[in-house]
Amino acid sequence: MTNALATDDAGRPAPSITLEGLEKSFSRDVIALDGVDLTIRAGEFFTLLGPSGCGKTTLLRILAGLDTANKGVVRIGGHDVTEVPPHKRSVNTVFQSYALFPHLNVEDNIAFGLKMQGVEKDDRQRRVREMAEFIKLTPLLGRRIDQLSGGQRQRIALARALVCEPNVLLLDEPLSALDAGLRGQLQVELQRIQRRLGMTFVFVTHDQQEAMVMSDRIAVLNNGKIQHLGTPREIFERPANTFVARFMGHDNLFDITSREGDLLDTPLGRLTVDTRTHGDKVLIRPETIELGEDAETDANYFTAVVRESFYRGSYIEYRLDVGEVSLRALSSNQGQKLHKNGERVPISICPEDIVTVTDGE
């Protein structure tokens, strides 16, 4: 697909995006973006991840031109677009609420952007139909918006943005309104579409699971600042600070009381770690804890007491007590017997699986 109105040079369909020193405040107290520098690579599936109110939507709206930053520069494909109004940017957005026009049917919704760009009727119809085919909506073209399910609406919002063949597609929590099943399906579908079209996707979510499933790279935001920028694996397994670690769902975080080479003293006991890191806290991911028979006696071997256990289907969650310290462990459900509450079980943690993190805000 080529883009008729692309602001960057032809033949470079997916541009990179550069943000420099972006600042945005709504009032003296409300600082939504606090100096964001960021480069999003051409053609990547990039995710902005962070808790509610951290500034994700604000960042996206500035990219789309729907809001103006107080300071900073936005470059798309190398061009400074900071002052270009939204209807002149080759950037499209899939809104959280879809924002489909209720007075138009599916076909006219998809065609809206093309019509506004002045695409001829024949051409327009052809492109809408192609897009409908692509996204498997053809039978719905004549329907009114309120006759559609959530998942169908989501796909139409996507189609409406994609049919304009933008250089960059922005997606603001497009899946958060859906139930778990549909959400899983659409996550996969979105990822496939992005790979097929090779566009640059900037995706916003507050769900770390979703971010990890879909993204090439993730920027974790908090209080308008980027906390960690990296691949899902980097962020999940080596979080930059305790904020990122907690946000990724890790709760086995312990203070380091003293360190000697690769030996760390923690409330849990003495831990052998693999690499020499300089973090302030030690992080043990629950799924890395080996339990019962699987526990190996050679390194980081402890005896724990089972406080509670929860059957979670594919895995079993244990709340363990090791001395004064409470620990969460996940063990894959392969039909084994559950350990009973109060039972003493041996546990071990492989030194490579232990990481240290710095104190984040």
């Binding site: 103006t68 107080n70 300071k71 900073g72 520069v73 900071t82 002052e83």
Partner: protein
Amino acid sequence: MPPSFEVSRRSLKWRETRHLLLTTAPGALWIVIFLVLPSLYLVSMAFMTNGPYGQPGMPLSLDAFRQLAGFGFLGWSPGNLYTLLRSIWQTIVATGLVVVLSYPIAYYITTCRASLRPIMLLAVVVPSWTNQVIRTFGWMNLLAPETPLSDAAQFLGLIPEHMGLFPSSFAVTLGLVYNFLPFMVLPLYAAFEKLDTTLIEAAIDLYASPMRAFWAAVFPQTLPGLLAGVVLVAVPAFGMYVVPELLGGGRSMMIGNLVAGQFTGASNWPYGAAAALLMLAATLIGIFLLRRLGKRAGGGEEVVI
């Protein structure tokens, strides 16, 4: 950042203000010119002196208000007080009746088939699309002496022999109720339609008898609609001119007639202006009290007029 960017931010703010002006100023100015200024002029007229032939003029005085309070050449007279109290009373009675008549109807419509409801609402509203003079005229026809209704009333001993049901204050009340019924049904219906029936179930589930469930779960939910309806009915009923004029026969004069009388007959504009001010004040106080009531009872939901 280059200063030009700051400038463009300021121009953005100005653009917003210009947009606000462009959109709201024409209509707002219209209201200012054709209602606010005239009202201010009317207010100022209340402080003028009535000329010997009924033209307002200088000097400024409080004569009009003195007269309104009942002080005239002959000392104090309660005539205006009667009129004010009569207006308030008529308004309360008519509004009360409208509430009692409308509540079940609004509920009934919501229990009917969804496809029927717009038709039913329309059926209630259509009579009010004809002009108020015509509606009132219809009642004049119906209530006149020697008509079946009047004969029946005579037969029952409700009215003296030879007399009609009109003109009378009964006819005025009837006319008011008839005129304003749809204004109550519509907001009440809207409230009933939004009714969250799980609240009723919750009340019953929590051991409430049907009657208590009504007061706990239905009435509070319809209260905002009811209050909106009360405002929509009571305000114009209080200011009504046509109905008492045509159906009252000069015996059930309301404050609207007192005001109008000074401009269509007696020609004492300052006095009429003062009476209009009184009317406006009473109306605003009434709205204020209703809003207070609504806020207290309606769980914070704003009463929308």
